[in-house]
């Protein structure tokens, strides 16, 4: 009697344990994955494919992708949902949103997740990891990443008597090349030498110039900036001089959105823009073009950009485990290589560039490797606490410089003061 009773109790006690795996097989762990892309675009098909493939390889897990539009929409959506207790378990958001996400207390560090070992997290390009780590923890895993490169019109180079195989390598060369490339009739210019867009992502472009002039615009903790550093001022002056002194860059602010079109229309011979434009330029430029690393000032340099993968606090232990599995699946060298080839984003690990597939692609289209070759010179994209606000302070300062209202030193000092005021409470 006693024995049977104990057996019965034992069976009762163990039954949930026994039932659990069975249950799990029946109802797979589901994770919602927010992805920052306008719905219906070509990238959605790639992501849909990844989710399906992952589901096949891991029958216990289902990943549901939700396409959330622009990066701006996506962070808004994620924060709103998190406040309403309805957060996704995983999302791809701007690497620069890291501090915002930490301050809002909605994400978990990858180090604390089961299955995310150090070897994996160290397998990415260090240039990308700069935007993923703060306070000794890793908050984001690089995925949809980009950087700034220079595109140039090889025909225009030939016409101007320049060698289309050698793009400018220094700031001085950039100016002298641009002078040769600027076509002027009297007052009007039919082709400018160079364009660095000053709307939309002015801070990003400026960060490239500042990095090349050997100054870091913020610290690792994201609570201090150095906008007013003399070297930063020098960088802004260089940008301004392109239009005012050397007259090789259109005056005022150049639109981010119309810059590629200006390039296709031969209104400009060299442009700085994101590597994310590679496919666009490849498809639409009606002339042979080259892609080059940004020229060096005191050194070479460019900020990285783009999106990281974050895991949200709302994820249950099982979902966290699944999220790590999925992130590792996405960043496998083979897949990362294919992703880079399909989309023009930079594959995130050196191993991806060592795959035969990638090697073959780069051999046929060397432009694809330029971003990678620039990565050793790359730094983290400008990102601080209250990132949007600090960025806006800098952006306003840059626009006031480029429109000729304020001198670089005064404008950047003002931006630095604004940033100080905003960041003081985070120290």
């Amino acid at each position: 009697m006693l024995v049977t009773r104990r057996a019965a109790l034992g069976a009762l006690a163990t039954s949930p344990v026994l039932a659990a795996p069975a249950l799990r097989a029946q109802t797979p762990v589901q994770i919602t994955f927010n992805y920052p892309v306008a719905v219906g675009g070509p990238i959605t098909k790639v992501i849909d494919g990844y989710c399906a493939d992952f589901g096949k390889a891991n029958p216990g897990i289902r990943v549901r992708p939700v396409y959330t539009g622009t990066y701006q929409d996506s962070i808004t959506k994620a924060l709103t949902a998190a406040r309403g207790g309805d957060a996704p378990q995983m999302a791809c958001l701007l690497s620069t949103d890291m501090y915002t996400l930490i301050d809002e207390g909605v994400v978990v560090a990858w180090d604390e997740l089961p299955g995310a070992d150090k070897g994996w997290m160290d397998s990415f390009y260090p240039g990308f990891m700069e935007n993923s780590r703060t306070g000794g923890k890793t908050w984001g895993v690089p995925f949809q990443r980009s950087t700034i490169v220079m595109y140039y019109n090889k025909d225009a180079f030939r016409e101007a008597g320049l060698n289309p195989k050698t793009p400018p390598a220094t700031w001085a060369e950039q100016v002298s090349f641009a002078q040769k490339l600027t076509k002027r009739q009297g007052d009007s210019v039919s082709q400018w030498g160079i364009q660095i867009p000053g709307s939309g992502f002015a801070y990003w472009m400026f960060q490239a110039l500042a990095t090349q002039n050997d100054v870091r615009l913020m610290n690792e903790a994201g609570d201090r900036t150095s906008f007013a550093d003399p070297k930063a001022v020098e960088a802004a002056q260089y940008w301004l001089d392109l239009s005012t002194k050397h007259k090789v860059h259109p005056p005022g602010i150049v639109e981010w959105g119309t810059t590629p079109r200006d390039f296709f229309e031969r209104k400009v011979a060299m442009m700085w823009t994101t590597t994310g434009n590679l496919t666009n330029v490849k498809n639409n430029a009606p002339f042979p073009f080259g892609v080059a690393m940004l020229p060096a000032g005191r050194r070479r340099g460019s900020p990285t950009g783009g999106g990281n993968l974050y895991v949200f606090k709302s994820a249950s232990p099982a979902q966290r485990e699944a999220a790590v599995k999925f992130a590792r699946f996405l960043t496998e060298p083979e897949r990362a290589a294919q992703w880079g080839i399909d989309t023009g984003y930079v594959a995130v690990s050196p191993a991806a560039f060592e795959t035969p597939k990638m090697k073959e692609y780069v051999a046929g289209f060397p432009a694809a490797a330029v971003a990678r070759d620039q990565l050793p010179h790359a730094v983290a994209e400008l990102s601080t606490h209250e990132n949007q606000r600090v960025t806006k302070a800098l952006e306003d300062a840059l626009q006031s410089v480029l429109t000729g209202r304020v001198q670089p030193a005064a404008a950047l000092t003002k931006a630095q003061e604004d940033a100080e005021r905003i960041l003081r409470s985070y120290r």
Binding site: S199, E255, G257, R261, Q388, Q399
Partner: protein
Amino acid sequence: MRGRATLHAWLMLGPAMVLLVAFTHYPVVATFWHSLFSTPRGARPARFVGLENYDVLAADPIFWQALTNNLIYALGTVPLSIALALVMALWVNGRIAGKAALRVAYFTPTVLPMIAVANLWLFFYTPDYGLVDRLTQLLLGWGATNWLGSRETALGAMMVVAVWKEAGFFMIFYLAALQAIPPVLYEAAAVEGASRWEVFRRVTLPLLGPTTLFIAVNALINGFRLVDHIIVMTRGGPDNATALLLTYIYEVGFRFWDTSQASALTMVLLLLLMLIALAQFTFLGRRTHYR
């Protein structure tokens, strides 16, 4: 019987009043209330800060710029769109060939979503190969102008888009008013041998008074409300040259997530509108046709 009628009246008014209060009156009060607190962030809850948010505003040069810009924007677009609307209405009501086609042409901007046309205007304003520059090149021999990229022209360019969007809509109101003027009046004026200008000044214009007032109020509100194209085309730039109160509210509230600051900003906007309403009520109240 009397009581039942009152009950009916309340039942009929009820739904509209509840929603009005919930989405107009309550938010005004709540905006003021929230503007007295700090924005809660992560672990830090909101705390009472009195008028600190307003102090911050007063010390914020972007706010002052947005306010100035907005006044220029309103004072520029209102008279211009009214005048154009009147001219358009007179034309399509007059003797010009192809009136029906003109009417459709003037009205199209009203039907097109601003958000979509803003991108087309972006092309028009593109330096050098944009349509505006091509025209100025052809007609005036000007060089390339960076309409959206320089402080001097950006706000003006935005105002042109706003006038373009609004004038045709206001035209419809004027047209309806013109067509309601009894022909007898014109015939009488013709008998007296009045010139066209005199007829316009003595007969038409006075009769259009209430319409003009109605349109003016609408145009003025739009002067603070119509910002879609700015959000798409310049995002308030360059260097805040096209920042208006509402674009700044959007930016502070939904990009910086500083809702308290945005509430203080909203209060300023509401205050401005209340002043306008008051001015309209005291100066023009007697002449309105609201009964």
